[in-house]
């Protein structure tokens, strides 16, 4: 049996061009570049419609990652950067995006992007990235009304999950499914701190717990941790989950049970929300007459 290649952090880098949009007819071409700790995206919009995007792993530094993601997005197009009317950098490396006219926080961009990608009914956006958890409340225009970002502590982040997958020797992409291959639901790991949760898990294994049970106990602890952050801003439907963790049902299905709300089904790659929001802000600023002269 061939081993299935489903590693979460080894996702395929993708780029895409819309077959329906002709950039030549657009009044404003705006670009959003989201440089995250793990992945970077560039989204190019023509008058607020997805025209092209590139999604790839973040490289050694932010400027290179931004440029690479943008080149990747442009690869299959005949569009050139001098046609851009506005470019906004966002994400962890947002101040180091060389082609950006300004930067906007990922909080604002994720809300704006989720409003566009999931529709104006979204009121709560959760983004779980490699190194942070963002809980965002927004109005029907995608304007942020409250937010909380936790980027100091690895508990509940993608990195925390990666540490656990390493400890248990389970490919990260299998974590979600395997955490449900158990009888009953174990008590969540009690330590919030990833370092202490690791020793707790080692203890459970020695007591004879199966790997999948420990996975389940950790996924449940992650869900509780994320829930505690969401609770601080309050959860109001509709609820959208962006970022990489959206693909881990071990955590998301347990989180769903805690909050009692079904997240919206994504139409686009969940990782694009930040860059899409940035491109939309660029468009709004162009329409206010603040775009590049040209």
């Amino acid at each position: 049996m061939a081993a299935e290649k489903r590693e979460f952090w080894r996702w395929e880098e993708t780029n895409w061009v819309s077959p329906d949009v002709t950039w030549q007819e657009a009044e404003f071409i705006t670009v959003g570049v989201d440089v995250g700790s793990v992945s970077s995206q560039a989204v190019i919009m023509a008058d607020g419609q997805f025209y092209a995007y590139g999604n790839m792993r973040t490289g050694s530094d932010s400027p290179t990652s931004a440029q690479d993601a943008l080149n990747f997005a442009l690869e299959k197009t005949d569009l050139r950067p001098d046609r851009f009317n506005f470019c906004i950098g966002t994400g962890y490396g947002r101040v180091n995006v060389p082609m950006a006219d300004r930067s906007v926080t990922e909080i604002a961009c994720h809300a704006k992007g989720a409003n566009f990608m999931y529709g104006p009914t979204v009121r709560t956006v959760l983004d779980v990235g490699g190194q942070d958890i963002k809980a965002i409340r927004c109005d029907d225009k995608g304007k942020v009304t409250n937010f909380l970002m936790n980027d100091k502590c690895a508990a509940g982040t993608g990195r925390g999950m990666e540490v656990f997958a390493d400890l248990l020797g389970v490919p990260i992409g299998e974590v979600g499914d395997r955490s449900f291959m158990i009888n009953g639901e174990p008590k969540p790991v009690s330590s919030t701190c990833v370092v202490y949760a690791k020793s707790e898990a080692t203890g459970l294994l020695r007591q004879g717990w199966a790997t999948n049970e420990v996975l389940a106990a950790y996924c449940a602890a992650m869900a509780e941790r994320i829930y505690s952050i969401l609770e601080r801003v309050g959860v109001e439907p509709d609820f959208a989950v962006t970022g990489g963790m959206a693909k881990n049902r071990g955590v998301i299905d347990r989180l769903k049970k805690l909050i009692g709300i079904e997240p919206l089904k994504p139409q686009w790659d969940t990782q694009l929300a930040g860059a899409a929001g940035a491109a939309l802000f660029g468009l709004a600023l162009c329409r206010k007459g603040k775009g590049r002269k040209g």
Binding site: R102, V104, I107, A108, K143, V144, N146, F147, K152, A284
Partner: protein, 96 residues
């Protein structure tokens, strides 16, 4: 909007909220804070459409506010925080 900075970890929650509707970017809190936690910015990083200056928690302080703010929070002598006191608009609050 309450712009919330800081974090929570296993030991507790350490958040500083700045109400962006109340904050006028005067910078009195910047002068009052002995740990240089705040700064005035011309563009709201969370709202590209805002035209007025605003105070934010500096990015390099955001992930250690628990430690940076400790000197203003002696356990035996509960007194008003300099930043909260300095803010005439009443825009700043601490969660701990």
């Amino acid at each position: 909007m309450p712009a919330t900075y800081g974090y929570s970890n296993g030991s507790g929650s350490y958040f500083i909220a700045i109400d962006t509707e109340k904050c006028n970017g005067c910078g009195d809190c910047v002068a009052a804070c002995p740990a240089n936690v705040f700064e005035v910015v011309d563009e709201d990083p969370n709202d590209p459409f805002r035209e007025d200056p605003l105070v934010i928690v500096r990015q390099d302080k955001n992930n250690k506010v628990k430690y940076e703010c400790n000197p203003c929070k002696p356990l035996s002598d509960e007194r008003p925080l300099p930043c909260v006191q300095a803010c005439k608009a009443g825009a700043i609050s601490h969660s701990w």
